[in-house]
Symmetry: C2
Subunit: 271 residues, 2 copies
Amino acid sequence: MSAPLRFPAERRHTLALAERVYAELKRALFAFELLPGERFSENTIAERTGASRTPVREALTRLAREGFLTVQNRSGWRVNDLDFSIFDQLYEVRTIVELASIDRLTAQTEPAGIAELITLWQVNEAERLTDGPAVFVQDEQFHSRLVAGTGNAELQRIHTSVTERIRIVRQLDFTESYRVEATYNEHAAILTAIVQHRASEAKRLMQTHIELSRQSVRKISLHRLYEARQQARDDAHQPERLSEPATGGIRSPLTETLSEKNLGDRSHESS
Amino acid sequence: MSAPLRFPAERRHTLALAERVYAELKRALFAFELLPGERFSENTIAERTGASRTPVREALTRLAREGFLTVQNRSGWRVNDLDFSIFDQLYEVRTIVELASIDRLTAQTEPAGIAELITLWQVNEAERLTDGPAVFVQDEQFHSRLVAGTGNAELQRIHTSVTERIRIVRQLDFTESYRVEATYNEHAAILTAIVQHRASEAKRLMQTHIELSRQSVRKISLHRLYEARQQARDDAHQPERLSEPATGGIRSPLTETLSEKNLGDRSHESS
DNA sequence: TCGCTCTATCTTGTATACCAGTTGATATTC
DNA sequence: GAATATCAACTGGTATACAAGATAGAGCGA
């Protein structure tokens, strides 16, 4: 077995091992190298990362608590399905937090951090980024800094955790350029409303903005996820997987949850 | 050394060991058997609980992630100070979540779970509980079920975690009977507004209700905390502690944070 | 061919061993 | 006597060992 996830042997003690395993696993989850529904053991991860089971376990339990994984009683770990009813709930939490943040920002005489955001988002078309993933990173920072402007670190912590939960599907949404353009326009409008202390308009715009994102994510189908997996396989130059799952089963793109069971291997099918 | 935290040897495998250590540590924190500012080692906890370091460590890292403890690099663990600026932030989060919940409840034609709450809180004085701690438990359930009525499990998770963070100081607030009475009255009024679909009034009442609680908690002084510690010591029939801290230092009850450093042992002082 | 049983193997949960960094008391120096 | 150097004991981070439950599959019987 090769070890695509292995860390370099050098620079061992720069960061805690458990932390690095955590980061690596999270990356693998977002890159769909670990697929929803996939099962794996602690030993597998330990071998792949070169660490022992102890730090691996710490990383896994943390990811489980964050909702990405589930441990099955003495019977291995499992990557949680992409459950769109949960994503809906997380989007609602995000809306609640960000609308409350806007209320607090517009109540400030000089809304904190808004000036910097304006220089990023209220720019003419020539200065705009067009690379989807790059805009995606900027977009997350936009929302994050709005919440940061409230000065409430606990609120920010919650917002960050929600953002990270949604990221796995949201990143798939930023491959299309039209969403990039819409993002620029909507962010610019929201910032304008905030600096003018027009709370209810800013909130209305934000609610719509988030709702559009939610609907867009809702449309993510098995097809898109399948593409992402293929991409992950190609990148790895290593088609084998941690474990071969049972393929087949339900395939409808309208199911509420996406997992390996309804993903399967359809490379030989016609669309 | 005796072992006040030791589990009974029987009934070993009913619940995961790490889980029990976690629960026991949390109980000890809330009972001020582990005091803010206090330092301790993994081995100490392992001896006291009869478990090995592995499950102890799992419990400790979890409590650290929840904000109760801090691990110092190869130099022991520390109970976090009671930081009232953080409690303020948590109260704000609680307000945001519960007001949003009211919005969603009043939008329902038949607000979920409200009927049951009414039978508990809209009762005449003879049927009311008077025992502070008992009412405290009921109070937490009141707020929790309001959020549950939204049907958003993720929102509820967040609300629960915030509630548990605040609990350590809020429990001190329910020793006085006047707060009990106020709680009954305020809860009854909030429920009335909700069933009448008067969202803004319900929100106004809830905001005030939470704000009063926050202010009440803010007034908790070193004195109250000192009493709680004494109580914990008396209950334990075992005055010795996990570690003897350095006493003395700042004593002002107006400091933003409460810890052992500004608590000390003042049993021989006059008030 | 189907279904049952048994068992070898794999899994996590827990305990223990080892290592390197931290610390605080003590010896030492001036 | 005060400042400093030293070192032994203690700490958490990690690796490994061991135990017991879960599982899949071979074997067997009908």
